[in-house]
């Protein structure tokens, strides 16, 4: 039996995104565990693990973030296929290799069909993490995004999320490192999934920075697959401080470039809307809009 579990942070998101996806993917015998989120994300996930892991027939536990919508009717078959190898402990929809810290997207990204639907700027849809130019799934990775975590029964029973992390930043990275340290592998499968979230990648930089620091300390010299080496902290600090300033300059430049691109698009729109013919036909469009609204009201 493949079980689905979701911590419900706000009912509306769950109803809109996670629940329809689970209904689409689930099999008749699948069990669904939706619990009110409690404490942080790690605490909620651990609670779900406690509730589900003991199930004798468990083939896999699918942890679905409330803002993730599975859009894959073939999902359960892909889960079974990915977990066929008993060495695989966690499967996700998007992940990366060469990961050294919670900014997993700085590694080499591999993904299934993951879309990013946003409501900013009138709404739209993009390929998730498009700027990383993801390699196609399936494949082995070092870390997967916590948007969707498919756990083998062994992992669900033996490994827990670290509840000490502030606001849950990096829980997915930490969990994957724990899984790998326990001797399991992490993989991405060609799942079809949509994440519903704002375009902003980090909502709270300062807490994220603290989590980055804490997890850096936690795993220093213990990361599976990374050879232990003596660290020259002074050189590392000098380089990191330089790279930080360079990254900030890059962000400034991105902002300037973005402003310029937006300005060009605004000019193109203005070329249309500033013409005499557009202005002269304004009343017609207004009447049309009014008529459409009336029709829509009448229909509802």
């Amino acid at each position: 039996m493949i079980a689905f579990a979701c911590p419900v942070m706000d009912t509306e998101s769950y109803r809109r995104y996670a629940e329809p996806g689970i209904r689409l993917a689930a099999e008749p015998e699948s069990e669904l565990f939706a619990l009110a989120a409690t404490g942080g994300l790690a605490r909620s996930y651990n609670l779900l693990l406690e509730q589900t892991a003991g199930h004798e027939e468990l083939e896999a536990l699918v942890l679905v973030h409330p803002h993730a919508e599975i859009t894959d009717p073939d999902f359960c078959r892909k889960v079974r296929e990915a977990l066929e190898d008993p060495g695989v402990g966690v499967v996700g929809a998007i992940g990366a290799t060469g990961v050294r810290n919670i900014a997993w997207w700085e590694g080499e990204v591999r993904a299934g069909h993951v879309r990013h639907r946003y409501t900013d700027f009138g709404g739209g849809e993009l390929e998730a993490f498009s700027w990383t130019q993801p390699q196609p799934a399936p494949g082995e990775v070092e870390c997967v995004d916590g948007l969707l975590l498919v756990l083998s029964p062994e992992v669900a029973r033996s490994i827990r999320f670290d509840e000490s992390l502030p606001l849950g930043h990096g829980v997915d990275f930490d969990f994957c490192v724990q899984v790998r340290a326990a001797g399991y592998r992490v993989a991405v499968a060609d799942f079809h999934l949509t994440q519903h979230r704002a375009l902003e990648l980090l909502e709270d930089d300062s807490l994220w920075v603290e989590a980055h620091i804490r997890l850096g300390k936690k795993w220093e010299g213990r990361m599976p697959g990374v050879p232990k080496e003596d660290v020259d902290w002074k050189t590392r600090a000098r380089r990191a401080e330089a790279e930080r300033e360079s990254a900030r300059a890059f962000a400034h430049a991105n902002l300037l470039g973005a402003d310029a691109r937006v300005l060009a698009a605004e000019r193109a729109l203005e070329e249309v809307t500033s013409t005499a013919s557009w202005r002269a036909t304004g009343p017609l469009r207004w009447l049309n809009k009014l008529r459409a609204e009336r029709r829509s009201r009448a229909a509802s």
Binding site: A103, Y118, L201, W233, A237, A240, S246, A247, A253, A260
Partner: protein, 299 residues
């Protein structure tokens, strides 16, 4: 005599930007010194300084990038006034205080009297905050700063004869910051003054991140313990490394966010434009626009 010096690597850029500005600003007796050198700006500027230093009547040497265009006709008067205090060593129109590294813009910028003119995406101007005093924020002011943006620098004769750009530091990055630190270490002031320029520059701020990073590290190491705040930081080296690595990754995430938000905004504008040009009213009035264009063409 106020001399102007430029290191030229792209003559067409010099002709379009620096040269008209120099013509606008220079006085009849001004000397214009150029050096055509594709190598290190540290070295080129030292060559310019050697040549200017030989002039007994030197009042100031204005070092400007080939893509910097001075816009003030009374530039020389402003330079003279700024350098009338013998303690002032170098003057510019963009400067900051609280600067701790070659990323001087991470300090508190006190004056930024320039326009950033770019050619990408159809071209445009980005006006810095103190280009027009009436629009300037309350912190905009002229006066003493820690460092200046090197695209336009006016040097006192003392500095021209006694300070040199440190050619051991690299080819380009950080030359201005290091020079300002040297001037301050020599007991002279670094100041901003009320003149303005147009910087004809691409939107790319750091074109070669790796050499920029190397310069950042080298200059931090050079000045650690010699100039307060530079190269130092709170905590142990390990703590500094961990925090900087985290902040670096947060800054990168911020850059990705900006790119996504830009894509989102552009998609919204393109949708609005597509809706407009596909509307019945736009298509209905196409002949009118055709006639209008034909008339304009005939005129």
């Amino acid at each position: 005599m106020i001399a102007f010096g430029t290191s030229i690597t792209r003559p067409e850029v010099f002709r379009q930007a620096a040269e008209p500005g120099i013509r606008r600003a220079a006085e009849p007796d001004s000397e214009v010194i150029t050096v055509e050198a594709p190598g290190s700006i540290f070295h080129s500027y030292n060559v310019l300084m050697e040549r200017a230093a030989a002039r007994d009547d030197l009042e100031a040497l204005v070092l400007l990038h080939q893509d910097a265009e001075i816009v003030d006709a009374d530039f020389c008067a402003k330079v003279r006034q700024a350098l009338s205090d013998p303690d002032v060593g170098v003057v510019g129109c963009v400067g900051a205080v609280g600067v701790r590294s070659i990323a001087w813009w991470e300090g508190s910028v006190a004056l930024a009297s320039f326009v950033h003119r770019y050619e990408e995406h159809g071209g445009g101007d980005l006006t810095a905050f103190s280009w027009a005093w009436e629009d300037a924020p309350p912190y905009a002011r002229t006066g003493e700063v820690d460092t200046l943006d090197g695209f336009l620098l006016a040097l006192s004769p003392w500095v021209v004869r006694n300070v040199r750009f440190d050619e051991s530091l690299g080819m380009l990055h950080g030359y201005d910051f290091d020079f300002c630190l040297q001037v301050r270490e020599a007991g002279k002031k670094v100041m901003t003054a009320d003149f303005r320029a147009i910087h004809h520059h691409s939107l790319d701020l750091v074109s070669d991140p790796e050499t920029w990073i190397e310069a950042h590290m080298r200059i931090a190491e050079k000045w650690d313990g010699r100039m307060p705040g530079v190269g130092t930081g709170a905590g142990t080296w390990e703590e500094r490394a961990r925090r900087a690595e985290a902040e670096r990754d947060a800054a990168r995430a911020d850059a990705y966010t900006k790119r996504l938000e830009c894509d989102g905004r552009i998609a919204e504008l393109e949708r609005a434009r597509a809706e407009a040009v596909n509307s019945i009213s736009w298509r209905m009035t196409a002949p009118l626009r055709l006639i209008s264009r034909a008339r304009a063409g005939a005129r």
